[in-house]
Symmetry: C2
Subunit: 313 residues, 2 copies
């Protein structure tokens, strides 16, 4: 494994940043020294998490928001979390299309985190990638999730500001209410706001938000956008800024959230380290494969199998 120049990384060199992210994607063991060196240089970027269901137009919205920041002189990093299966290379094509839109220059960096890896660690890798971009001097780091699920919700919660994107016409579905993404939004966007039903969606969203009890008493703004026409992007940037200002007053809720995020991240890292250590123990990897084969054939149950692997009983 070749060395990654910390100097080049901190100077924001795109190729070095890309190689660093590849390294942390490949697993926890090569990441430690790099991340220890990077950590003291982080804390300057504003990290914006953007989630919402597929079809809500998140990519367009992120691209337009990135262009808005770029025009103001910011450097922007985009990390895109894609639930593609490990078999797919789908994300790469998407990145190329988007780079063409955003313009290939040193002020915009885009990277899809497509694969989860053999031993999990997508969340850990994503948070580390954000830290790398932060240390590399990007002013804004946008974390965009393609899907919206358990992992995605947790990753978006690690951002400084979480944005939830909806579209008109979703509100008639009980899933939209149950989706549980409501309470992670610091800012809400109704995109495709030229579609029918925008008023109804806004009313329903307002009703839902009025039922929510945020410990910090923040009242999340609702912004209407038409990303494809570049409409409402300034309002979105202003809403993000207003929440950032609110948090910077140092509320107790913000401190609680920071602690929860740090603890969650630590436990993810520990899980990945522990399983990796186990797999690297002599013969354990083969034992796991062999037992998995027996479970698949229904010859043994998984709980008895883990007792064997861990040497209990």
């Amino acid at each position: 494994m070749s060395e990654i120049s910390l100097e080049k990384l901190l100077a924001g060199d795109a190729r070095t940043v890309a190689r660093a992210i590849t390294r942390i994607e490949n697993g926890v063991e090569g990441s430690a020294d790099l991340m220890k060196a990077v950590f003291p240089r982080t804390g300057n970027a504003v990290v914006i998490g953007i989630t919402g269901s597929p079809g809500a137009g998140k990519s367009s919205l992120v691209d337009k928001l990135a262009l808005h920041y770029k025009d103001k002189g910011d450097r922007i990093g985009i990390v895109c979390i894609d639930p593609s299966s490990p078999f797919s290379g789908g994300a790469i094509l998407g990145d190329r299309i988007r780079m063409a839109t955003l313009g290939l220059d040193k002020n915009v960096f885009i990277r899809s985190m497509a694969t989860r890896g053999n031993l999990g660690g997508l969340s850990r890798a994503t948070v580390d990638a954000v830290a790398i971009l932060d240390a590399a001097g990007f002013d804004k780091v946008i974390v965009e999730t393609v899907g919206v699920g358990q992992d995605e919700v947790e990753i978006v919660k690690t951002a400084d500001v979480s944005v939830v994107v909806l579209v008109p016409g979703m509100g008639d579905d009980i899933q939209a209410i149950k989706a549980g993404i409501m309470e992670i939004g610091d800012v809400f966007v109704i995109n495709k706001a030229d579609r029918e039903g925008v008023l109804r969606t806004q009313k329903e969203l307002e009703a839902l938000l009025s039922l929510a009890h945020r410990p910090d008493m923040w009242d999340p703004p609702i912004v209407r956008t038409i990303a494809t026409e570049n409409k409402g992007i300034e309002d979105l940037a202003a809403a993000i800024e207003s929440y950032k200002d609110f948090v910077s007053t140092g509320t107790e809720a913000a401190a609680t959230r920071k602690f929860a995020v740090a603890r969650w991240r630590l436990i993810e890292l520990l899980q990945e380290s522990l399983i990796r250590e186990l797999m690297e123990t002599n013969g354990k990897s083969e034992e796991i494969d062999s037992l998995a084969g027996r479970i698949a054939k229904r010859e043994i149950d998984p709980y008895t199998a883990i007792e064997k692997i861990l040497g209990r009983k």
Copy 2:
């Protein structure tokens, strides 16, 4: 912790089933004996995984499919995976509404798995809940995900038949293509098929599927439904049946998938067991909290913290 009667569980007693699922949700350590006893009695149910983005009408579709099976004399279990945060009790209301639709009788059991738990384990708990319903004599077990993300995709992959639900009008969005859920679908549904754009969505889906390379050469059927009007539900049941028949011929691809699922499940279980063991070690839980506090204050980086916890360096 009171004992769970295996006899009552195997007889399909709803309260016993509910208590068993609560136990496996609460963590890996109380689950082992129960799951070891349950495992030999599993393998009879057809497990159907249903995923798709919020707003696609999955709940209605699942309810109508369950009623279809019920009318044919089947007993149906429904496990619903909800990305609600641990702070929310939103799932319970939803279950009540749905029970009213489905009818409260011993032939339909519905349960939301709303919380991930402190140490992860949502996927493990879901797979165990399915096994419990299987052992309790439910003929069909439907696993429905509210969100669609990394975890949800992996959970749905553990089903015998995976159904992906789309709605017209999503196809114009590059996210729909990137969403990576395409390749997990054994059966595709275009729900709300009375909406504008259904033909276009079908064409785009066909084009995408023609690009996919399934190792088993299965050509996934596309079914149009209007769940709210109970239209297309028989076609969906027939499509599910046709894939099940196809797999029962015993393809190599099916064996590979079974092995991959077993291995993934084993590693999930191992991760949960390892972290729980660590947390139960004297003082480790307090050390983790204390280090998380220092990470939140940026006094230490997470990688140095795990070395301290694991006693390295």
